[in-house]
């Protein structure tokens, strides 16, 4: 096989894979169903984001699932306390792959203003976070921005490198 042939071969495979990637990413990006999971103040801004003025439905995200099995995205909206942390972790682990996490608000990011005995200082200590949305609470626009950022992140993923096909 000459170099040219090899390059052509590689190119073909890449083109094929790129197309697969594009479809793979497109459908996950276009249909991210969040789990209805509000913890504290931020949950309300999350609900507002779904309401008339901001309308999360435009992204196809109004299909809020109550069960983690059917959800793709967990928006940790609010303070995670030590009492709640095992439940958050369990919910996350019960979600079906592929799954994403947005940490919404200062509390979910770092404990925020609540540097106290009962608050987990950032949800990223127990579950991996994809996008952080700062604010206390972030405005709905900020959450939408975070979601768009997450979509951009998904668009850059490739079916070859995504973690969920690897053996755990």
């Amino acid at each position: 096989m000459t170099d040219d042939e090899r390059i052509a071969e590689e190119l073909k495979r890449n083109i094929f894979l790129t197309t697969v990637d594009r479809i793979y990413d497109w459908c996950r990006r276009g249909s991210m169903w969040p789990i209805s999971f509000g913890l504290a103040c931020c949950a309300f801004e999350m609900i507002c984001a779904a309401a008339a003025r901001f309308d999360l439905a435009r992204f196809g995200m109004e299909a809020v699932r109550a069960t983690p099995r059917q959800a793709d995205l967990m928006i940790v909206a609010g303070t995670v306390t030590h009492k709640m942390a095992p439940q958050v972790l369990r919910l996350y682990r019960q979600m079906a792959e592929p799954k994403y996490v947005i940490a919404m608000g200062a509390c979910a990011i770092s404990g925020g203003t609540f540097r106290s005995y009962s608050v987990l200082q950032g949800v990223d200590k127990i579950i991996p976070v994809d996008v952080y949305v700062p604010g206390c609470p972030p405005r709905p626009e900020a959450l939408l921005h975070g979601i768009i950022k997450l979509q951009e992140k998904i668009e850059r993923q490739s079916v070859r490198t995504v973690p969920w096909y690897r053996k755990a």
């Binding site: 789990i35 209805s36 999971f37 509000g38 913890l39 504290a40 103040c41 949950a43 309300f44 801004e45 609900i47 507002c48 779904a50 309401a51 008339a52 003025r53 109550a66 609010g78 303070t79 306390t81 009492k83 709640m84 439940q87 919910l91 203003t113 609540f114 540097r115 106290s116 005995y117 009962s118 608050v119 206390c136 609470p137 405005r139």
Partner: protein, 366 residues
């Protein structure tokens, strides 16, 4: 005889209709609830301890995050407690602004409560989203005044943080007029809806004596026929200057609580109108030292928050931060009656009752 066994079911902490991270352990026989055990604390953020390490003013943002739907009334309760403790006077204009904000907050809270109640009844978001749409208009007013939508941090000891912007009054009038119209609209959509009546009437009847014995306050109490409202019983701020009525109903069921909220929205709008009419010019902030050191002592002050009697109990040791900071959270105490209300009913009734009691975990757990 066939033996049947009860099952134990967790409702919450992650459940669509527990309004946050509230957990109930239900014992059920078939679909009938035999017993209910509420479990709190999933949002316990240690506010009372945190407050002991911060200055009085630094604690104001903490109160925002307690009952996050009505930040302004929390601010107000805390501010008047500190003012009582430190003996501060508040300029008249600031008092009017406080009343306007508090009543707007009440409207916001009741809208959310009604919307969430309908959501729990299974009305698939539409009434909720209508309520939130109207809420946005009020949040716009808050935002133009203090820069935040939800966690306002607007009140200061001896006044408010900033004067109202120029366009506030006309816009507030517009919002009030729109809300009058819109509350009528909501009534047309919901109040006589046959399914709503079937789901709410006669469900979760709270007897008057039980309500008093369990220290239930707020709309939940008034729906049971007790005309107790702190605004009337022990007027704070300048509530004695306004003409408003306190609605009560004798039935004490979920529907009564729903009706009370609608009636209170109209009363609040009426108060706001009066306050806007008589808004005096002048200062909005009294002279208060930057670092407040109230004299040694303790004080309790209370207001009628949208959910019930919200009180702060502060103990000062003369330092810059409170020695003890306690919140009398109305919703925590209102929940005392929950097991009594739901025994013998079913899960759909349970969510309706929780929705009608109107809880916010941020305030229950603090």
């Amino acid at each position: 005889m066939l033996k049947t066994r009860t099952i134990t079911l967790n409702l919450g902490p992650q459940h669509p209709s527990t309004h946050g991270v509230f957990r109930m352990v239900l014992t059920m026989d078939g679909e009938t609830i035999v017993d209910l055990k509420p479990i709190f604390g999933y949002l316990h953020r240690g506010m009372e301890k945190l407050a002991e390490t911060r200055t009085y003013l630094q604690n104001m943002p903490l109160t925002d995050r307690m009952d996050y739907i009505c930040a302004m009334t929390n601010n107000l309760a805390y501010a008047i407690t500190v003012e009582k403790l430190a003996g501060l006077e508040v300029p008249e204009r600031a008092e009017y602004i406080r009343v306007i904000m508090a009543e707007f907050t009440r409207v916001v809270n009741h809208l959310v409560a009604i919307g969430a109640l309908l959501n729990d009844l299974g009305a698939f978001f539409t009434p909720m989203l209508y309520c939130l749409r109207e809420r946005e208009r009020i949040l716009d007013l808050f935002e133009m005044t203090c820069g935040a939508r939800m966690t306002c941090n607007y009140l200061r000891f001896g006044g408010v943080a900033a004067d109202l912007p120029e366009e506030f009054v006309p816009q507030a009038r517009e919002v009030v007029a729109g809300l009058y119209y819109w509350v009528d609209d909501l009534e047309r959509l919901l109040t006589t809806n046959e399914i709503l009546l079937a789901r709410l009437q006669g469900i979760g009847i709270l007897p008057r004596e039980l309500a008093i014995n369990c220290s239930v306050t707020g709309p939940t109490l008034r729906a049971s026929g007790v005309p107790y409202d702190v605004r009337r019983a022990a007027p704070y701020s300048i509530y004695d200057r306004f003409d408003f009525k306190i609605p009560t109903l004798d039935e004490g069921d979920c529907y009564a609580r729903y009706l009370i909220r609608l009636a209170e929205i109209r009363q609040s709008l009426h108060i706001i109108e009066q306050a806007l009419d008589h808004l005096p010019p002048g200062e909005v902030q009294a002279k208060v030292p930057r670092l407040l050191r109230p004299p040694v002592g303790d004080a309790y002050a209370r207001i009628e928050s949208p959910k019930g009697e919200l009180g702060f109990y502060l103990v000062s040791d003369g330092g810059i931060s409170p020695y003890r900071f306690h919140v009398r959270a109305p919703t925590l105490i209102n929940l005392t009656v929950l097991p009594d209300l739901v025994r013998g009913l079913r899960i759909p009734d349970l969510v309706a009752i929780i929705g009608s009691i109107d809880i916010v975990m941020g305030e229950i757990d603090r």
